[in-house]
């Protein structure tokens, strides 16, 4: 049961973060929200082979849907997460049905166009979204009527961590189901899958909807914990950053997505606190280093190392 062990490790690392960095819970919550976004990219890029630089459109859809619902009086956090997930899934269907018409580079360009359109729509609809001033005034009611989302951020973090673990378990089932394996097949060779008699488009579209729901949950979590939704949540920059984190961690493994997010954002936070003026050089150096040393991401590097050691021992691999 390696999956069970993995899930226990994620929960344990999450709780360790809670005990070790009690003063940085807002940062850790932000990492959890972005981790959900990175997981959602992994579903379409890592498992289906559809590269996207527009995933923040789905994250933002969830964030704005939850935010607008909250401002209009629906303040129960679990309901807001559900609203975010539904909005993300709908946006995912929309995005998928457009993007899947194209292939390769054209597809990537379409994804950028879609996120820009979402961004402009959110900017234009300032009566609902607050435009570039951001949607503020989200008064989320306490979780289960008891635990308030406050300055110290304990509720927000534990809530986010539980969501992450829950989503992760659900996704483990999804990717190892026949549907998930079919997705991988499509990634390897779509023509052959089609020749076998399977329909490619609806399968990929379904994955887009699931991916949208995951990104939407991330967006809703960001909205709930920050109490403000800004245009940055539907930006190209966020999409690109999230893709960088995924590549850093390694495509096509859910663990890689999580590890990439934690390492990238943790490193970024650390160096920007040490030198708030010139820290970006350090992040650039880290990325170049990783790409040179481990082209298939950190999880790929781990795989190579473990294969090398088992071979060295003459084990069965």
């Amino acid at each position: 049961m390696p999956d069970l062990a993995g899930i226990v490790i994620i929960a344990a690392v999450g709780m360790a973060g809670y005990w070790l960095f009690p003063d940085n819970l807002a940062l850790l919550t932000r990492i959890v929200a972005v981790a959900l976004l990175v997981l959602s990219i992994d579903l379409v890029t890592g498992y289906c082979g559809v590269a996207t630089l527009g995933q923040a459109a789905l994250f933002g859809a969830g964030a704005y849907a939850a935010g607008i619902a909250c401002v209009n009086g629906m303040t129960e956090p679990l309901t807001l997460v559900l609203i975010g997930a539904v909005a993300g899934a709908v946006a995912g269907l929309l995005m998928g049905s457009v993007m899947l018409r194209a292939h390769g580079l054209a597809q990537l360009v379409l994804s950028i166009a879609i996120v820009q359109l979402f961004h402009e729509a959110a900017n234009k609809a300032s009566a609902y979204t607050g435009g570039s001033d951001g949607l503020s005034g989200l008064m989320v009611s306490p979780l289960f009527g008891v635990f308030a989302f406050d300055l110290w951020g304990k509720t927000a973090y534990l809530f986010g961590l539980s969501l992450l673990v829950f989503v992760f378990i659900a996704l483990k089932f999804v990717v190892s189901s026949p549907f998930g394996i079919l997705c991988r097949g499509i990634k390897e060779d779509p023509i052959r899958v089609r020749a076998m008699g399977a329909f490619v488009f609806p399968v990929l579209l379904k994955m887009f909807a699931i991916s949208g729901a995951v990104a939407g949950i991330g967006g809703a979590l960001a909205a709930i914990s920050t109490q403000v939704v800004g245009l940055d949540s539907v930006s190209f920059e966020l999409s690109a950053n999230a893709l960088v984190m995924l590549v850093l961690g390694g495509l096509g493994t859910l663990y890689g997505a999580l590890a990439g997010t934690v390492i990238f954002m943790g490193f970024e936070h650390m160096v920007s606190a040490i030198n708030p003026f010139h820290w970006m050089t350090m992040v650039g150096a880290l990325l170049i280093g990783v790409v040179l040393a481990a082209p298939s991401g950190l999880s790929g590097l781990l795989g190579t190392i473990s294969r090398a050691t088992t071979r060295g021992k003459g084990g069965r691999g």
């Binding site: 940085n24 919550t29 920050t226 940055d232 003026f277």
Partner: protein
């Protein structure tokens, strides 16, 4: 060995006692701003303002040492803003928060203030609504409505009847459009057409054509500072609108001093209204410019965020004085309500109701100095302007 340790302990204790009687404690101030990325120059101006104030007024207040902690927020990102503010309050134990360049970032911090028992002194973020989000916010910058409103009167006084407005399609642009229209139509003029341009427009010749076709006597513009403004002003010159006698009005964001070298001669003659010009003629400003130039490294980089930060530090110093170094956000904010002083920009005060700064707004014209460099020359003063955005609420 034990005795030696004891002696050492006593010595260290005595030393610490001695030190503590000189400087009772350290009060930390957390400054959040864009210190890297495309807006790094604005963040550098924050830092220059803070350092200039501390160089001129000392690094302690009534025996309390002041320590400033900078945190970088390169672009508008409310989630990161909240995380940084939370860390500064909970981990670094800052007693005061300051800075903040973008409105959404300020909006993300305001819900924390009451629980954190920490005032937030805003050095820039210029949307009126921030002030209503928390009673613990004080602002030492300006709002777009505040700097734009006098322009309506000026345009009417200069015989302009019809104006076409062209603004970037985002929050501050729309604020400027609305404020100008209100002031200009109150003065008897008419805005014949209002163009909203996408933020990343680079080719402005179609816009200039619309300006010409509209038959307006003048164009009112608002764009974010940087390359877009440069493109807009160049297009205004090159398409012959300037030669055709169509006047150009804008808030001072467009001709901030750090952009003037890039605009070059194209900017000469532009009329803008703003709360601060580096060229402002007063002994306070001379002192400020000298100290801030030393902090930022080059006189060409100095612009308005520095004076917002300088006056922000003044407010924070006054707060520390009033609370005797104890953490009491409400008392600190109450102490600066109605506070008035002479800033490098001229006489200013904190409005006791809105907690926003009341200041002079100046009409300036870009002119060429004797050294061949262009600068904003103040030619008319509108004293004691409050924020009209807050007054109407």
């Amino acid at each position: 060995m034990k005795a030696a340790k004891r002696i050492l302990g006593v010595a260290v204790g005595a030393l610490m006692l001695g030190a503590s009687s000189v400087a009772a404690d350290t009060i930390k101030v957390g400054i959040i701003g864009p210190f890297s990325g495309p807006f790094a120059l604005q963040g550098k101006n924050f830092q220059a303002g803070v350092e200039a104030y501390m160089a001129l007024n000392g690094k302690s207040v009534k025996g309390h040492d002041i320590e400033v902690i900078y945190r970088d927020l390169p672009a508008a990102n409310p989630a990161q803003s909240r995380a940084l503010a939370q860390e500064l309050v909970v981990k670094e134990k800052v007693q005061y928060l300051g800075g903040v360049y973008f409105t959404p970032d300020a909006m993300a911090i305001t819900p924390l203030l009451t629980q954190a028992n920490t005032p937030l002194v805003i050095f820039n973020a210029a949307t009126s609504a921030i002030m209503t989000q928390s009673p613990l916010v004080v602002r030492t910058s300006f709002t777009t409505a505040q700097t734009t409103t006098p322009l309506g009167k000026i345009a009417a006084e200069r015989g302009v009847k019809k104006v076409i407005s062209a603004v970037s399609d985002y929050g501050p642009g729309v604020d400027a459009e609305v404020a100008f229209k209100k002031a200009f139509e109150a003065a008897g003029g008419k805005v014949v057409e209002a163009i909203r341009m996408p933020l990343n427009t680079n080719d402005f010749s179609p816009i200039m054509q619309r300006v010409r076709d509209s038959g307006a006597d003048a164009v009112f513009a608002f764009l974010p500072s940087g390359p877009t403004t440069l493109g807009f002003v160049k297009a205004y010159n090159e398409t012959g609108l300037k030669q055709a006698g169509i006047k150009f009005f804008a808030p001072g964001d467009l001709t901030q001093e750090s952009d003037l070298p890039a605009l070059g001669d194209a900017a000469v003659g532009l009329l803008t209204t703003f709360h601060y010009a580096v060229s402002h003629d007063s002994p306070e400003n001379k002192r400020f410019v000298e100290a801030a130039t030393k902090a930022i490294g080059s006189a060409d980089q100095l612009s308005f965020p520095a004076v917002g930060a300088y006056d922000g530090m003044h407010v924070i110093y006054k707060m520390i004085e009033a609370t005797e170094g104890k953490q009491d956000a409400q008392k600190a904010v109450d102490a600066v309500k109605g506070l008035s002083w002479t800033s490098p920009r001229g006489p200013v005060s904190i409005d006791s109701e809105t907690r926003h700064i009341t200041e002079n707004i100046y009409l300036r014209e870009v002119v060429k100095g004797p050294d061949g460099k262009t600068y904003n020359k103040e030619i008319q003063t509108f004293p004691n302007q409050k924020d009209p955005g807050l007054a109407t609420q």
